[in-house]
Symmetry: C2
């Protein structure tokens, strides 16, 4: 292969897409380290080895740059999950693989994605983006549950599925938060714990075995599972 000779310096020859990725890498690093408010465009430009006006020209304002980071990291996370599952697997295996991929991603990106996610959740212009991602996850989970039920010719009210999906996604999100704060915790073991809490119950519910509130004060119904 022949190397192409050019009179322009090396940094000029990088394609736009590569430049953008370098800027996003630098931005994720600086936002994670400093927080959204304290992060400066100077430091981001510096870290990317690029001039500040060029960062603005390529990716816009600090707010737009933060959203671009959020999208790139969020897309990577979704791809990690999508790559881990296959439609022919059973519902519990699909959920297990999704959970393992998700918590594995969170565990591997404790300093990047996780921090961005927390900042976005706590900041008004970005909270909507996070809510949208969460809704997509809920839809995917509800869709997976519906698919499982259809395959077994069983009917469960859509509301039921939606609530189950919200509970699963909420449980996972909460545990992911815990994982970020516990660098010593193993993501795979943590995923197993979530399966134990969230899936075991959901599976029983979908199978028609369900917990019922006690019929009278202090009295448990015969089919209520207990910790004993």
């Amino acid at each position: 292969m022949l190397a192409r000779v050019s009179s322009t310096p090396t940094f000029r020859r990088l394609p736009r897409a590569v430049r953008e990725q370098q800027m996003l890498d630098a931005a994720v690093k600086v936002f994670s380290r400093r927080g959204y408010h304290a992060a400066s465009m100077d430091e981001i430009a510096d870290d990317a080895g690029i001039s500040k006006p060029m960062v603005y020209a390529y990716l816009g304002t600090k707010e737009e740059l933060f959203i671009a980071c959020l999208h790139r990291e969020g897309t990577r996370m979704m791809q990690a999950i999508a790559g881990a599952v296959a439609p022919d697997l059973s519902a519990d295996e699909r959920l297990w693989r999704s959970l393992r991929a998700f918590l594995g991603f969170v565990g591997a990106h404790r300093d990047g994605w996780a921090v961005l996610y927390r900042q976005a959740r706590g900041e008004q212009p970005f909270a909507g983006e996070i809510a949208a991602m969460r809704s997509r996850m809920v839809e995917i989970v509800a869709g997976m549950l519906a698919h499982t039920l259809r395959a077994e010719c069983r009917e469960v009210a859509e509301t039921e599925l939606e609530v189950v999906a919200y509970a699963l996604v909420g449980a996972t999100e909460s545990v992911a938060d815990w994982l970020v704060d516990h660098p010593e915790a193993d993501p795979e073991q943590t995923a197993t714990r979530v399966m134990n809490v969230a899936w075991v119950g959901a599976a029983q519910l979908l199978a028609g075995t369900s917990w019922h509130p006690p019929t009278s004060q202090g009295e448990a119904p015969p089919d209520a599972p207990s910790a004993g």
Copy 2:
């Protein structure tokens, strides 16, 4: 009983505590209706039938007033939960009553507490307050699980309990969010659904029956619960 006659107008005779509650009532209403940023101290003073300087004198800046609202409503919520449980009940009954009290409170305060909570979660100065409330809830749930286990002379690693508590609280929080957006949903029925998903699994886990990841690709272990 003799009515006491006074020459000062009625509004002057209100004790400070009553005044403060009136202002907080007005503030919760206005913050919920307008959102934190758009809410004006003029409207809050107006609604409370009090002068704006008096609102500032009693409860401080808009930020301090919002935190005061959050604390009052949060305390009411915690009291609603505490009032619903008794220490001699079984773990599942305590969890059930807590869930029912919590989702009942959220359902009854869709326009008040729920909106404040969402605003606080999405705003930097208040996100810490919400995180602190969540941590308290996680501690309470983990404590309840530990208590149940001790009563049965069983040992489960503290990390395990913490992850289970995070999952339960996260699932409940997520479902509460769903409830706020579904005014037609019944809080008690919703609480039953959370019990089904979250508790059934947690109870099995605490009882020593647990889900294990498949040992080889695509193969489910013999004791894995399935939806079928």
